[in-house]
Amino acid sequence: MEVEVSRRKFLRGSVKMTILGGVAASTTETILASHSNSEHKPTASNIPSSITTKTGTGKAKEVPTLCEICVNKCAAIARIEDGIVTKLDPNPLFPKSKNMLCARGNAGIQQLYDPDRLKYPLIRVGKRGEGKFKRVTWEEAYDAILNGTKDFKGLKQILDEEKNNRSTVGYCAGEGMAEHTFQNWMKCKFGSLNFVNHGTICLTTTIGGYTLTIGSYGAVDFENAKYVIMGGANRAEAIVTPDTMDIFKRTKGRGAKLVCIDPRFTHTAAKADLWIPIKVGTDLAFVLALTYVALTEELYNKDFVAKYVNGFEEYKNHIISNKYTPEWAEKITGVKADTIRKVARDFMKAAPQAIYYQGRRSTFSQQDFQLRRAQAIFSALGGGIDTKGGIIFGKKLPLGKHGTNIPVYSTTKDRVDYDKAAIVGSTGTWLGFRDAVLEGKPYPVRSMFIYKHNPMLNLPNIDKTRKMFEKFDLVVAIDIMPGDTVMMSDVVLPECTYLEREDPVKSYGGTMPSIALRQKVIDPIYPETKPVYNIIKGLAEKISKPMWEIAKKYDPVIQKDIEGMTPEQEEEYYRKNGHDLTDWLKAESQEEVNEHMVVSKWGKEAWEILREKGVFYPNMDKYFKKINDNEYQYYPEDKKFYTTKNGKFPTPSGKIEFVLPNMATKGLDPMPTWRDELYVKVPKGKFKFITGRHAQFTQNNTQNNPVLLDIIPENYLWINSRVAKEKGIKFGDLVEVSSEVGKVRIKAYPTEKIGPENLFFVHGFGAHSEALTLAYNNGAADNEIIKDVIEPYFGAAAMHTTIVDVRKV
């Protein structure tokens, strides 16, 4: 991987997509820095002349912020010298991130200075997906969204044709602090119900499983847990704060025992006390067998169960009558019955300081929801819920609310994927939504607004996603990089990176709750990029009145309401009933909104502390102490929030539900049940494909980052050494992995860390966008070959059910 070559391309800073009639791409000076020292030379546009810059010893500006490379929002302090961000250091004040910044957090600087970044609004001039764009002003971009161009239709025409069915405009967003801004405006102001986000391609089943069982997804107290079972959650490589930091300081005989259940020997397995390789998709059988042991040997916490559990007897009978014995599980999972017994016994002995970890990116198989339920139930049998060392709910500090005046459009239809799964919530089911768009039923979804999301690479079966995009009449993308999805868009609205903007202040709960603020560390280096708050505000200002006209034209309720009104009265109605799409965005900037949210609940002093230090929680000045360079006290032990529910769990009944009778009415299992027909067996000579994480990449967000690609230049296929030898595959050989939905080419990494039945490669590579210099055609995209399988409860994408084949090329 020629990072040297790209460094020179970096210095020239040309955008790789064709921009017709546009000004020369970037304002970076072309300094051939190859023989100069690494000290930054501030250029005309405040962009450093080398990829990494050495920090200086002089006075520098230090601004606290929150990282945005992944979901954790670790608190960082940006060091700015001469207008250039030279380093991101950890901010010790945030209890959640505990004074650390991972590899990606440090590499945020390169995201800021990435020469391939979107720098100004673009509109498509060629065919969709061709990559031909024209640079436009914001006004022109908004106009194109409203009125369309000769190449694509605008909102006005689409909504007119769809008779003001607002849901014809779908929208999707990735996780981010400003996701709520985008989502809330599209849903509550614009009025569309067709929202999808990463939930059903990530963690919906585990959130659903734990929420429906114990009342909330919860968090964990790894500082005090004694026994933790992590099924597939690769915390050493898929970092979640503070779980990762807490647990790995205590494994290997230093206070906690970690059992890692994973078909692959990950870094978590390397740090665990027991690694249990398991057949992919059979975790449910494992947990059911653990439950069997706990129940039959009466190891569970009888007191806790008697007081706090509904449906225990029914569940016990269910487990025993189905004979979910360890021997039964051994045949399915490949895990020895003795091991299952030992784990169950050790778990219960350590309980209530024992946790069956929730996990995050879930949906390994179609039985995933039941798996998570079974996990929650097993944890509850130990009694470790809402207690020190177990699953905790903690406390969350309140923030002032920003109310929305929601207009009602009676012409808006229900979401198109409502019947694609049993429980379709407000974030829908992405795969179900995609199928509905392709079917065009129950009505066509004519447009798609995308914020910080990359469906072209994050949905299984990339081919199908491409077809879905071809169906839309208007695709608007708000993004920072010209990725695959941006290339399929009609209007591209550039957001500035997280280091250049202020985002909604957020409260983080847990045992040590706090409020954290992201503020901008430097002004946007490309003046035409804006935070999403201002992007939406501009859009609202442009389309509010035209949308109102269409609403008046088709909505019978509105027509009836305003019948006979004078223009002034109509204007009043328009404003009072929330049809003014700009009223939720009256503040000039996010900072104003944040100030209100904090001051209204905590006062002006708290706001000032928050701005100065980036973090606030009550009594911070008393509680926060530095113990040594590596350790800080955030809350004294007696002030931490371990038990907060006092026996009344957040379920509707107040108790932990082992049985969910509502499921039965939808034709689904009310209790975790092993369904052999839903288990995908691996045919002889073929493999089951699994995907996962490395600690240096966050999905496709980091695909173009030179400092991170320096560590892993491209992804490799994990293939068992003996299988590779049989096929004549050596390290670095190019192989082709094919499934029924597609095929990819990737280099091989024969290893014994994966079994002979499985293949793996890490997600986050294989981009098709030529505009991403380093990411284009680099490695392979897993979703090219992952089959789209919809799990029945929440419509989540079951990602570990694909059967593949591999051959040398």
Binding site: H694, I712, N715, Y716, Y749
Partner: protein
């Protein structure tokens, strides 16, 4: 006496300096070969000027490449030649006297050729000259090389001009001998003092450098004798050279045997990999051993006592063997990686450090032989060396 007379007395210039060579077979071959090699050298230099250090295949694990080997070759050759010549002067070895003058000068020129390689190996030659003098570090073998080379060159030159002038050059010869031997032993101790390297550290390499350098010197003497001495004056010298060859080659053989055995005995990590990579490769047993030591030894023992012809051919092979020996020694100390863990997920674990010189490195290293040959030609033409 005027300066011109001093120069005339001490610097044995020929009366008539003409650069036009006698156009016979051997000379033509010589000229063509040296021109080609100089061309190759210039190609390498241009490559270096264009790409800098990136023209070389050296890496973090293998920082010493072919240029270091080539430079060590010239150094060994030159110091060996100078040592023998200086001994001939100091100990009054009449048999070798006929070619002492040539040997001294050619030794110096071989060192120049070595510097022509070294100039492109070292990263910052000017800095080297300044700071070795200003802040030189006495615990460093390279620093002492920087002391001994100039001294050797100085005393060699002094020995040469005093000897050519017919004056008593014994003191200078003694100093030359001391410093030449010091240089070669110091060059060997660059490797011998590498404490972290179980194969290299110890006495073997300094002594091996000295012995193989002297052997190389003997080979150069034999080549000079064959091509530059037109009369019978060197007949006894040939015998002398052959006897010296037998002694030194045998010593070297014994040393190699013991080094080899102690490395494989017990399969010691750090040593066994070197044996497997270096000692079992043809570059060792064919070039270094057979060409470099055994063939000259065999010819010395069983060749016709007074004839120089076969021995000269064996010497040429011997010099090839010396070059291979230098490559082997530089490789041997870098073959075993110091860091044996993977530092990236997707890589093979480090095993043996692989290296093959780039075209630019080959060009500069081999091309320097052309420089040497050209310098020989100039010396022959301008100085009275008989």
């Amino acid at each position: 006496m005027a300066l011109k007379d001093y120069i005339k007395t001490y610097l044995p210039l020929r009366d008539k300096i003409s650069l036009k060579p006698e156009l016979n077979g051997v000379n033509l071959l010589f000229i063509v070969a040296s021109l080609i090699l100089i061309g190759v050298y210039l190609y390498g230099v241009v490559g270096f000027l264009l790409h800098g250090h990136h023209a070389y295949n050296v890496s973090r694990e293998h920082p010493w490449g072919f240029l270091v080997s080539a430079y060590e070759f010239f150094v060994a050759l030159s110091m060996g030649t100078i040592a023998i010549a200086a001994s001939a002067v100091f100990f009054d070895i009449k048999a070798l006297k006929p070619i002492v003058k040539r040997a001294l000068i050619f030794g110096l020129l071989a060192l120049m050729a070595g510097f022509a390689v070294f100039l492109f190996e070292i990263g910052h030659p000017i800095t080297m000259i300044i700071y070795t003098a200003l802040s030189g570090h006495p615990t460093s073998a390279l620093f002492w090389l920087g002391v001994f080379y100039p001294l050797t060159m100085l005393f060699t030159f002094l020995t040469f001009i005093f000897y050519s002038a017919g004056k008593n050059a014994k003191i200078f010869a003694m100093l030359t001998l001391i410093f030449a031997n010091s240089s070669i032993l110091t060059a060997g101790s660059i490797f011998g003092l590498l404490n972290n390297n179980p194969f290299a550290s110890g006495v073997f390499y300094p002594i091996e450098f000295l012995l193989s350098g002297i052997l190389g010197g003997i080979f150069l003497f034999a080549i000079i004798a064959k091509f530059f001495i037109k009369d019978d004056s060197f007949k006894e010298g040939v015998l002398y050279l052959k006897e010296a060859t037998i002694v030194i080659a045998s010593l070297l053989l014994i040393m190699y045997l013991i080094k080899f055995l102690t490395a494989i005995y017990g399969n010691m990590p750090g040593k066994i990999e070197v044996v497997e990579t270096i000692f079992y490769s043809p570059r060792f047993w064919l070039f270094e051993l057979t060409f470099g030591i055994i063939i000259p030894l065999v010819v010395a023992i069983w060749g016709r006592k007074d004839q120089i012809g076969m021995f000269c051919m064996a010497s040429v092979l011997g010099l090839i063997g010396l070059m291979a020996a230098r490559i082997n020694v530089v490789e041997a100390v870098q073959v075993v990686p110091k860091q044996l863990m993977k530092i990236r997920e997707y890589q093979l674990p480090p095993s043996i450090t692989h290296y093959s010189p780039s075209l630019v490195e080959w060009s500069i290293g081999i091309g320097a032989i052309g420089i040497f040959m050209a310098l020989l030609f100039l010396a022959e033409r301008t100085l009275k060396l008989d």
